[in-house]
Symmetry: C2
Subunit: 246 residues, 2 copies
């Protein structure tokens, strides 16, 4: 698309506008969007007006701007990963009915774990995961599984980058992480006690496509001291069921 | 954003590109996208390349173009309607465990019923609904509930437009439809036998926000001749639970 005087493309500007919306910032004014996207005020107003006309953004009663349902619809209806999520959902429900905590499905996206789905019981243990939210590969159980089976170049890039701890238990030493990833490939699952939050343990298994490549991680979150055996068995069984259904 | 020689804005072109992707057409070449979006080939290639760079579209191994996960993530993470879906999900699971067929959540979007969620059992009765798919307001049980409680101007617009039958049972007569909408408001639910498919019956109830406005329809799909009483009771109970949780 045409470039602005500053040289960034219109697509870049659009992405910067959309990126100003977050799970905790769902309504903004045009001026706030412009400031956060680093756009001149007149450009911000024009872009927002066009996106509202197209239904990609929506104006609420008090003139606040929200992400539009039309954008969600266009992004969702033809997405391959969302087909994975739809196939997995009944089996995730079965895990959750049995294990009784959070059940999650994540994929590898730009060197992070992106969560496609999360089922939760109202009285389940605390969990910071959100649908369409992300967690670091070295900290979340889903991330560890995705990293264990990722292309070697992804693994090398993540291992040579900054490994940020979310708790004192998060693995941040590259050698320890590399050894852990080898153990995950050997065992076919991970148990991650307190890596994300002190009070909880994450368990995750890989989900493979017809060609045998790992395309997702299926995980549950348990209280830190809960037994893991029956939850791991439920995860392995569900992963096999999802693979058959794919 | 800057306008092209033909006068359509870059946002219009972007939307036209995204609209070429559908649930049954998830991979296309740049040339196909350009032809379906009505864009000159050089423009189509440039726009697609920019959208791929931004992660909003993705190129697969065989150079086909798909909708990117980044677009889904940006569209989903700050969407208000998806918060509704996340709140409703545990209660929808409970309905489905009890009723054993499809359970769905829909909102009114541009004079159609847009489906935010659908839970299905593998052996459930046939159902043409898709997540992020749409159905006409006069045909689906969800649509009838949404139309019954819509603003009068929406109702007048739909009633004076074309009412397309999906089966011989679909209501297409404006006077009959207006009377049916009145009955829905009186009873607080709808039973729609064979309106969408001959073999199934849809049941739907409204879901209200804290201010009492109807924001969604909660529905189940049953085999055509199944008893409806316990499913209706489960729907009413779940709608109340969702309203309390919102």
């Amino acid at each position: 698309m045409a470039n602005s005087p500053s040289g960034d493309s219109m697509t870049d500007r659009l992405v910067r506008v959309l990126e100003t919306f977050t799970p905790t910032r769902t309504v903004q004014t045009s001026a706030e969007i412009g400031r956060r996207a680093g756009l001149p005020s007149s450009s911000a107003h024009r872009i927002v007006a066009e996106l509202v006309d197209a239904g990609l953004l929506e104006r609420d009663e008090s003139r606040g701007i929200r992400v539009g349902m039309r954008l969600w619809e266009l992004a969702t209806r033809s997405s391959g990963a969302l087909r994975l999520r739809q196939v997995a959902l009944p089996f995730m429900e079965r895990i959750q009915a049995r294990v009784g905590e959070h059940t999650q499905l994540a994929i590898l996206e730009q060197d992070e774990a992106l969560f496609l789905e999360r089922l939760s019981h109202p009285d389940a243990v605390t969990n910071i995961t959100r649908v369409a939210g992300r967690l670091p590969l070295n900290a979340s159980s889903s991330g560890l599984v995705l990293l264990a089976y990722a292309d070697p170049e992804v693994r090398d890039r993540v291992l040579s980058g900054r490994l940020i701890p979310l708790t004192p238990a998060t693995i941040t030493d590259p050698a320890t992480l590399r050894r852990t990833l080898g153990e995950i490939r050997l065992q076919g699952h991970v148990v991650a006690p307190g890596y994300i939050e002190d009070v909880s343990t994450g368990l995750a298994v890989p989900v493979r496509n017809a060609a045998g490549a790992v395309v997702a991680a299926l995980s549950v979150v348990l209280p830190r001291d809960a037994p893991t055996e029956s939850a791991l068995a439920a995860l392995h069984r569900a992963a096999r069921d999802i693979e058959r259904a794919l």
